[in-house]
């Protein structure tokens, strides 16, 4: 039976997909197709005229004149043979054609003898089925009749194309409705702009933000609604593509802080832009409040601390008269703890300002050897009180570009930590040295060390390792966060090499800055 089996086209998968996409299988008959088959039946004078669609296992009759069935198996289908090529399949007498001589539709009802089918192409170029005419007696399709069949098939193809087009239009409309819903439901002002930055379309969020109706927004230049955040009242200069901070003045005169991002519309040659405007008023207010709190805290805490420290310092030094030994101990304790409080306040303010990128840095030529020596000198007494040796090694200058005071703060924090975690009798080694790619400052202790897992964590804010070490000397866990912040502000890195029981070595690497090379 294989001789009679219709071939499977090379584009079968795409062909079936295109057929299914038309959504014509198993649908009621339609006048738009029936008028074509009726015309074919009448003009070509045949008892049967069909528009067939060749599905995976069957051929479905979308339009059918002269037959009482709606589909037949694909294996017995003449049309499945016809769609193997573009031209008309013309079978004068099925009983004389080896492909069809044993076909059940030939041997049984409807006893086909004559068949002529013209394949119907989808818009995408796949042959989906045919317009075919059938007779139960042998006959010949004349050239005129072939031309008629081709014309009628072109008509049927046109109807298929109309279906595809209306589907595309429906899809486009649906997509547009969805996009409009998205644009209307996002809490962001959206505007389409023409090249002169005039608004051509705006969403309701922008309307709410500006207090202008979407109709009133159309035609308005966007930059007239927005002014520069830094120099108020000057219209915003839009950079494309780009993000800008701006102030938006609403119709009622109220002002909002906004962030504007502008991008060219893809696939638009006319230079149209899309602008996204987000209201950041609340966010800016929080930022301003935070800045204010930091600034006020700085001043309001430092002023009483200055008085307390001053008074206690003078008392401890005997300026107010000599103190009895017990009183002296109490005053000394108060001095020490005041200093600790001052360090904490300073560290917290530094951490906040580093996080906000607002810690002022005065970069200039600096000497890392001098930095190491200064930090060491400042901690000699702390080291002596802890019974820890302090060895600063710096042979010759180690020039870097940096803020000397801030680098001393880095070295001081590292050395202070090293002293804190050292046992009595141990020595902390501090070394400044030139490196190929810059300069290094290393601080090495022989303390308890730490797990590898902790070597990154310790640089985070408020992190303290529970080492069971001298808790009295522990701080708020800010020192190393400040170290990292300052070092990174110098484009440098800080790392620690450590293992439990093996001590810790902190290494600060600062890059060569241009002109800083010796």
């Amino acid at each position: 039976m294989t001789a009679g089996r219709p071939p499977i086209p090379a584009d079968e998968a795409e062909r079936v997909a295109a057929l299914r996409a038309l959504a014509l299988l198993d649908t009621p008959s339609e006048e738009r197709f029936d008028r074509i088959t009726r015309t074919a039946q009448r003009v070509l004078n045949v008892p049967i005229a069909l528009i067939t669609l060749v599905d995976t296992d069957r051929q479905y009759f979308k339009s059918c004149q002269g037959l009482g069935v709606s589909e037949t198996p694909r294996s017995a289908s003449f049309c499945a043979h016809a769609i193997a090529a573009d031209d008309i399949l013309h079978v004068r007498d099925a009983l004389e054609d080896p492909r069809f001589v044993r076909n059940p539709l030939v041997l049984g009802s409807p006893y086909i003898r004559f068949y002529a089918g013209k394949p119907l192409q989808s818009v995408s170029g796949h042959r989906l089925g045919t317009l075919c005419v059938i007779d139960i007696v042998p006959r010949n399709l004349t050239e005129d009749e072939a031309s008629t069949l081709i014309d009628l098939a072109a008509w049927a193809e046109l109807e298929l194309a109309v279906i595809t087009m209306s589907q595309a239009v429906r899809q486009r409309d649906q997509l547009q409705r969805r996009l409009r819903t998205v644009a209307e439901s996002v809490p962001l002002g959206l505007a389409l702009l023409d090249p002169a930055h005039g608004i051509t379309a705006a969403n309701s969020s922008l309307s709410a933000l500006t207090g202008l109706s979407t109709d009133a927004l159309v035609g308005a230049p966007l930059n007239r609604l927005l002014s520069d955040r830094t120099t108020a009242n000057r219209p915003l200069v839009l950079t494309v593509p780009g993000e800008m901070d701006a102030v938006l003045t609403a119709a009622d005169g109220s002002r909002r802080d906004v962030r504007v991002s502008c991008a060219p519309l893809q696939d638009d040659d006319g230079g149209a832009l899309v602008a996204v405007i987000s209201d950041v008023t609340a966010q800016r207010a929080v930022e301003r409040l935070k800045d204010e709190i930091i600034s006020v805290t700085g001043h309001e805490l430092r002023t009483p601390l200055t008085a307390i420290r001053g008074s206690l310092g003078l008392l401890a030094a005997g300026i107010g008269g000599g103190l009895a030994p017990d009183s002296q101990r109490l005053v000394d304790s108060a001095v020490r703890n005041t200093e600790r409080l001052i360090r904490l306040v300073n560290d917290m303010l530094d951490v906040e300002r580093l996080a906000a990128g607002q810690l002022p840095m005065q970069l200039g030529p600096a000497d890392l050897a001098d930095v190491a020596t200064a930090a060491g000198d400042g901690l000699l007494q702390v080291a002596a009180e802890a019974g820890v040796g302090l060895h600063v090694e710096a042979d010759g200058p180690v020039p870097v570009v940096g803020d000397r005071d801030r680098l001393i703060q880095v070295a001081t924090n590292l050395v202070h930590n090293a002293i804190k975690f050292s046992s009595v009798g141990a020595t902390v080694h501090v070394k400044a040295a030139l490196a190929d790619d810059g300069a290094t400052l290393t601080v090495e202790d022989s303390g308890d060390g730490m797990d590898a897992a902790d070597t990154e964590r310790i640089f985070e804010r408020f992190t303290q390792l529970d080492t069971g070490a001298n808790r009295a000397g522990a701080g708020a866990g800010l020192g190393l966060a400040i170290v990292r912040g300052i070092v990174e502000a110098h484009s440098g890195t800080v790392t620690v090499t450590s293992a439990p029981g093996q001590g810790s070595t902190f290494e600060v690497r600062l890059p060569h800055a241009s002109g800083a090379r010796p």
């Binding site: 700085g298 001043h299 200055t306 420290r309 001053g310 003078l314 300026i319 005071d405």
Partner: protein, 121 residues
């Protein structure tokens, strides 16, 4: 000859401690003013050798006080050192010929040396 310094600060406790420290530890004569306007007047009338100036003060702040002082041609060269809760010199300090800054809170025992260092005394 005894040095004479003018301390301008709106906080009474800070003024007193600063004055006490400089008088007792450095042996200087200390003039005090509790606001910028009085301070600028005393900078003329009191003939100080140097001014220790607070930065954050109500009404006439440190910058305005420094401008008032510099507006007097006799005081163009009067050494000014800031006594401030800030850790770095403000932008206007250079323009007004401010010599340096002592950060609050300061260690009273070290204060005379810190001031001497900033003044070059």
């Amino acid at each position: 000859m005894t040095r004479r310094v003018l301390v301008i600060d709106d906080e009474p406790d800070i003024r007193e401690i600063t004055a006490l420290t400089l008088e007792r530890l450095a042996g200087w004569e200390v003039l005090i003013a509790s606001n910028g306007s009085d301070g600028a007047r005393l900078a003329v009338d009191g003939r100080p050798d140097a001014v220790l100036l607070d930065v954050m003060m109500p009404d006439v702040d440190g910058e305005a006080t420094a401008r008032l002082i510099r507006a007097n041609c006799d005081l163009r060269e009067l050494p000014i050192v800031l006594l401030s809760a800030a850790t770095q010199l403000p932008a206007w300090a250079e323009e007004l010929g401010v010599l340096g800054l002592v950060a609050k809170p300061f260690d009273p025992i070290g204060l005379p040396d810190q001031v001497r260092a900033e003044l070059g005394w």
